[in-house]
């Protein structure tokens, strides 16, 4: 398990999610693919946190506590992204419900009034 390998796994998940976003018809399935994208990004953030030092650590000179703690910035990013993704999915599901109530469908290809 090296940084490159973890990033590669993250990239594979990102590509799978991208395929889902581009190809699925059901909006709920689209939402799931979006969550995969978020997950790929979070894996990358945590991997950088684990394998690369924060800026101050690589320099010569005294090591301060803040520099050590800054190594976990990736974890903080991960937590923030997860929170925002949760809020986003709740809102997206509310939108899907509203769509279903208005048009009796959740297929993305059926919602194309703006094109005409």
């Amino acid at each position: 398990m090296t940084l490159e390998n973890v990033l590669l796994v993250s990239g594979i998940i990102f590509a799978i999610g991208l395929y889902g976003v581009l190809s699925r018809r059901s909006t709920i399935a689209l939402l799931m693919s979006l969550e995969l994208l978020f997950n790929a990004v979070v894996i990358a953030a945590v991997a950088f946190s684990r394998f690369t030092p924060s800026a101050g650590l690589a320099d010569a000179g005294a090591v301060t506590a803040n520099e050590v703690r800054a190594a976990l910035t990736g974890h903080v990013f991960a937590v923030l992204v997860i929170s925002v993704a949760a809020a986003e999915s709740a809102l997206a599901l509310a939108l899907i419900f509203a769509l279903y109530r208005a048009k009796e469908t959740v297929e993305i290809t059926d919602v194309s009034e703006m094109k005409r």
Partner: protein, 220 residues
């Protein structure tokens, strides 16, 4: 290369198993026709990702991943599929399948080329023993309250009464993540709170019964 950042063989093996499970489940998510089944595979993929987080020494993120994604997001999605039941079994086939495969394969190739052609600055390149101890050993910190104290390797010196020997931040991340969230990153943290409140209100506003429509909660 120093030993402190070496990954044990067992952990490496577990990482490949977890990655294989995650990727297989993710592929099922985007290919399975039944949307409810896709939601279940999504939960499986989330669990695999959280296993990867545990192996990357990020226990807190891993647990939050299970709590938020498995415990809330995938359940919410399953819930919606149950409410909008007619979409589940007869989902339409994919649109633009070959174009999508091409685009994602190109993106994956770009990511792989970038990842393997970059010279990363790695933890294992660190030479300062204090820095290594602060990350993955045990360390002593002066002036804990201010957060500006100097970090020293705890193996060489005797801690005085007022000092605490702490585990390196990669070894025990939970407390440090908490401290970072309410100190350095307090503004993003509060903003996320605001975003969640906005999403809550937005969701309620979207689901409110419109005039002339019967109240979806029933009751006459």
């Amino acid at each position: 290369m120093n030993e402190a950042f070496e990954v044990p063989t067992v952990v490496s093996f577990a990482f490949w198993v977890a990655s294989a499970i995650t990727i297989a489940a993710a592929i099922m998510v985007v290919t399975v026709r039944d949307v409810f089944k896709a939601a279940v595979f999504l939960a499986g993929s989330f669990i695999g990702v959280s296993a990867i987080f545990f192996l990357l020494n990020a226990e807190f993120v891993g647990v939050v991943q299970i709590l938020v994604y498995v415990g809330a997001v995938s359940i919410l999605i399953a819930f919606s599929v149950m409410m909008i039941s007619d979409v589940s079994h007869g989902s339409q086939p994919s649109r633009a399948r070959y174009a999508s495969v091409t685009v994602s394969a190109l993106v994956l190739a770009a990511i792989a080329v970038t990842v393997y052609n970059t010279e990363w600055t790695l933890n294992s390149g660190l030479t300062d023993p204090d820095a290594i101890a602060g990350l993955s050993g045990t360390f002593i910190e002066d002036e804990i309250a201010s957060g500006e104290g100097r970090v020293r390797d705890a193996s060489g010196i005797q801690a005085s009464d007022s000092q605490v020997v702490q585990t390196g931040v990669l070894g025990d991340s939970t407390g440090t993540v908490g401290a970072l969230l309410v100190r350095e990153f307090v503004l993003p943290f509060e903003t996320v709170g605001l975003v969640i409140v906005a999403a809550l209100i937005g969701g309620l506003a979207l689901m409110r019964p419109r005039e002339g429509e019967p109240d979806p909660r029933g009751g006459g």
